[in-house]
Each structure stands twice: as structure tokens, then as C-alpha cells.
């Protein structure tokens, strides 16, 4: 199929970017979105032009590296997939596809479609862990009995790959879904309860410091999340935060 692409090109973080039009022929429905961009880049390289920079790594939907706002939606129009899992059969011959980087003040553009998502790393570093003494007396995690429902729910929260689609989709560029998933994956387990108060206070403080917007419960994040992280996580984080604030 033949596609008309409008792609955000930006030389570096300090240069102003703009949309550039490309026409690409010979795209197959079985290709992934990233393979389509690979073909475009091969064309550009053969013509001696600068290829389009975009993030990718595992290309099987588990690493959270690929991003892209495709026709106004993070990871494109399909549900529960990352951009690398998005097939070109979701588009039609002659379609115009608008491709932009994830937009948020806390996700500054590095080049073209690549954004700096290290703000997520800093939120994790603020409390997204449990402290374990590893000096030879580590206890086996499975030695503590955990109710199956809690274990399953914590695992659901832990499936967040930190791609940033929630921020990109949210009209407020809020990072509540990501942060709440990372709070929730520990909050539901006995190992995580030990530092639960400090964790939620510190992670929310870091999230606010990074300049993400406020959640207004539109639910866009949940719909666009490639891993189906639910709004229940945000409600849980709200409860955890309010309880932690009362405890002081």
C-alpha cells in the first residue's frame, strides 16, 4: 500500500521542530509500524538524507522503549499493543498518518521522535523498590504466604512497562497511571507494606516535581495503556497517599 506520512523532525533538543511530509510505497499489511519506518529510513539513507530517529528495542512489546503518537493516539489506533506490535494492516492504502513524539514538558524531545523519559526513572528511584539486605541472609520471597488475589493484582500492576503512553494520551500530561502502577505493585504485597508510607509520599512528590499534570479522571490513560493498567491503581494510590498524609 501507499502511505502519506507526516513526521515530526527536530534536529536536537534546542532546535525548533516541524512536520515533514513523506510518501512511502510498497508497505505490506504484515509489517509492523516500526518495520514501515525502517523502510522509510532505508529510502532516506539511500537518498543521502538524514533518517528519522525513533526509539525501539525488543520489538515484542515487553521493553517499553518504543513510543510514538500515531494519528493522535499513543501506540496508534489499536488497543493493548505497543507501536512495535502495531500492524500496518490497521491502515488503508492512501492513508495519511501523522507521527509525533510523546508530548509532555517532563518528556523533552531529544531528536525527531525520541523523547527523554528519565523523569519516569527518577520517580522509580524515589521509592519504586523494596529495601532488602543482601549481605548473605536474604529471605526467599516465596517464604511469605501471599493471598492469590493480592499476588495476581500486584502482578497486574507490575506489568506496566513504563512506556509513557499514559502521559502522552492524557490531556493533562499526567503520570498518575504509571506512578500508581509502581506504587500498587508493592502496596498489595507484605514485603511492600513495610515502606508503603514513605514510598507513596516520595514517588508522588517526585512526580509533581517533574512537572507532570494533574489527573482529572478522564480515563484516557487506561484506554491507551498497552498493558491494560487500570484506573483502580490510581484510586489505590490516592488512598495510599491520603492515608500516608494522615500518618505524617
Amino acid at each position: 500500500m501507499k502511505l502519506f506520512l507526516k513526521i515530526w523532525r527536530q534536529k536536537d533538543a534546542s532546535t525548533k521542530g516541524q512536520m515533514v511530509d513523506y510518501t512511502l510505497d510498497g508497505v505490506e499489511g504484515d509489517m509492523s509500524f516500526l518495520e514501515m519506518l525502517d523502510i522509510l529510513n532505508e529510502d532516506l539513507i539511500n537518498k543521502g538524507e538524514e533518517p528519522v530517529e525513533f526509539d525501539h528495542d525488543c520489538r515484542e512489546g515487553i521493553c517499553g522503549t518504543c513510543s510514538l503518537q500515531i494519528n493522535g493516539e499513543p501506540h496508534g489506533p489499536d488497543r493493548l499493543v505497543t507501536t512495535c506490535q502495531l500492524h500496518m494492516r490497521k491502515f488503508n492504502d492512501g492513508d495519511t498518518i501523522v507521527i509525533e513524539p510523546f508530548r509532555a514538558k517532563a518528556f523533552p524531545v531529544i531528536k525527531d521522535l525520541i523523547v527523554d523519559r528519565s523523569s519516569f526513572d527518577r520517580i522509580q528511584q524515589a521509592g519504586g523498590y523494596i529495601s532488602v539486605n543482601t549481605s548473605g541472609n536474604t529471605v526467599d520471597a516465596n517464604a511469605i504466604p501471599i493471598e492469590k488475589h493480592a499476588a495476581d493484582s500486584a502482578m497486574d500492576s507490575a506489568t506496566c512497562i513504563g512506556c509513557g503512553a499514559c502521559v502522552a494520551a492524557c490531556k493533562n500530561a499526567s503520570a498518575m497511571l504509571f506512578t500508581s502502577a509502581k506504587v500498587s505493585q508493592f502496596a498489595q504485597l507484605p514485603q511492600g507494606r513495610v515502606e508503603a508510607t514513605d514510598r507513596v509520599m516520595n514517588m508522588v512528590r517526585q512526580m509533581d516535581l517533574e512537572g507532570f499534570g494533574n489527573c482529572t479522571n478522564t480515563g484516557a490513560c487506561e484506554v491507551e495503556c498497552p498493558k491494560g493498567i487500570s484506573l483502580e491503581n490510581i484510586a489505590r494510590m490516592n488512598r495510599e497517599y491520603l492515608a500516608a498524609s494522615v500518618k505524617g
Binding site: 509525533e100 509532555a104 493533562n172 500530561a173 484510586a235 491520603l242
Partner: protein
């Protein structure tokens, strides 16, 4: 106030609690107003009570005004912060693909309701304040029903009220149900809570619109 707006979750909670408070107010306002249709005598009695009871006038009324002010000031603060959090706007943003129109346009529906409050205060509250404290007229427990019905004689005012109630309904459709999520309530009862909140969001504004239209169509003839 500065402490409240420091944390994004505290800001959510302030919006939720002030919004829920206004929902409670709307309910009692609707119940009293509805008596103007079914029992004008009762409407007169209750209106007189609300207008002259010191607890209502000097305690509840200031709390209500504070609730309204906190809700819309916080709404403006959130909107400004949220706009700035995006940084560079998308060339194409398909908001309708993943969120309802109501949830994405709370600021606009809220602004219309706020503008309506201005008109509503001018129509009734300013009039009452002038009656009681400027013109210092004698108490008359029988005047409220006739005064209210007369207000809806002009079609333009009735229409403005009805349009505002539609926007209020859209605002409540997202706001009421959403306040529970902000307070951390998301459990097996949530689907029922959401349903009740949405029924409220339709029924109460519809009721207010009915009252306005009823009085427009049934003027008092002497």
C-alpha cells in the same frame, strides 16, 4: 491554601470534596425549588425560613459561597497547570478516541455554570440582599412564589437557565462520578455508585429546567 495545592493528589481531593458539597447543596436547592411547582405555600414558608434564619444566612451561606469559590479557583489552577504540563501541543490529538467529551471539557462546562451563577445571583441573591439590607423592607413570607414565577416571564431568561442546566448536567456527568475515584473509591460498589451519580447528573438538572419552563408557561394572572 498553598499547602493544599502543593500535591497533585491533594488538589484532586479538594476538587472532589468541594464538588460533592455542591452536589449536596444542589439536592436541597432542587427540593425547595420543586415545591414552587407542587406547593406554593410550602415554597413561601421554606424560602422565608432560608432568607431569615440566622444559621442559614450567616453560617451556611458563607460556607456555600466558600465552597463555590474554592471549587472554581482550584479548577482554574488545575487547568493552568495541566495546560502547561503538555509543553508543545500535538499537531493531531485524537482525544475523542479514549475519553468522553464531558471529561475533556470540564473547564468549559464549568465556565458556563459559573457565568450562570453570576446571572442567578443577580436575579435572586442581589434582589434579596437589596430587599433586606438596602431598602430594609418589612418581612413578607408570602412574596417568594410570585416573585419567582415572575422572573421566568421573559423567554430569554428561561432559555438561558435551561441551556445552563444542560451544561450543568454535562459537568455533573463526569464530575460527580469522578469525585469518588479522586477519593480513592474504586471497588465492587463503584459500578453502582457511577450509575447513581449519572442518574443524578441527568435528573436534577432536568428537574431544574422543568421548574423554569413550568413557571414560564404558567404565569400568575391577577
Amino acid at each position: 491554601m498553598s499547602g493544599l495545592i502543593k500535591s497533585s493528589i491533594a488538589r484532586k481531593l479538594v476538587m472532589a470534596l468541594s464538588g460533592l458539597f455542591l452536589v449536596v447543596f444542589l439536592t436541597q436547592h432542587f427540593v425547595i425549588n420543586f415545591t414552587s411547582v407542587i406547593a406554593p405555600e410550602t415554597f413561601n414558608q421554606w424560602s422565608h425560613f432560608m432568607g431569615y434564619n440566622p444559621l442559614v444566612q450567616f453560617v451556611l451561606q458563607p460556607i456555600l459561597i466558600a465552597g463555590v469559590v474554592i471549587h472554581f479557583v482550584m479548577g482554574f489552577i488545575l487547568e493552568a497547570q495541566n495546560k502547561s504540563a503538555r509543553g508543545v501541543s500535538y499537531v493531531k490529538y485524537n482525544g475523542g478516541a479514549n475519553a468522553s467529551w464531558m471529561s475533556r471539557n470540564m473547564i468549559y462546562t464549568g465556565l458556563v455554570v459559573l457565568a450562570f451563577l453570576g446571572l442567578h445571583f443577580y436575579d435572586f441573591w442581589v434582589h434579596e440582599m437589596a430587599y433586606k439590607y438596602v431598602e430594609v423592607k418589612a418581612e413578607d413570607p408570602t412574596r417568594y412564589h410570585a416573585e419567582t414565577v415572575e422572573k421566568f416571564a421573559p423567554i430569554w431568561r428561561t432559555l438561558l437557565y435551561v441551556v445552563s442546566f444542560v451544561l450543568l448536567s454535562l459537568h455533573l456527568w463526569h464530575g460527580f462520578a469522578s469525585s469518588f475515584q479522586s477519593m480513592g473509591v474504586n471497588n465492587k460498589y463503584s459500578p453502582v455508585i457511577q450509575k447513581i451519580a449519572k442518574i443524578f447528573a441527568v435528573v436534577i438538572p432536568l428537574g431544574f429546567a422543568f421548574i423554569a419552563i413550568y413557571h414560564h408557561l404558567n404565569p400568575i394572572t391577577h
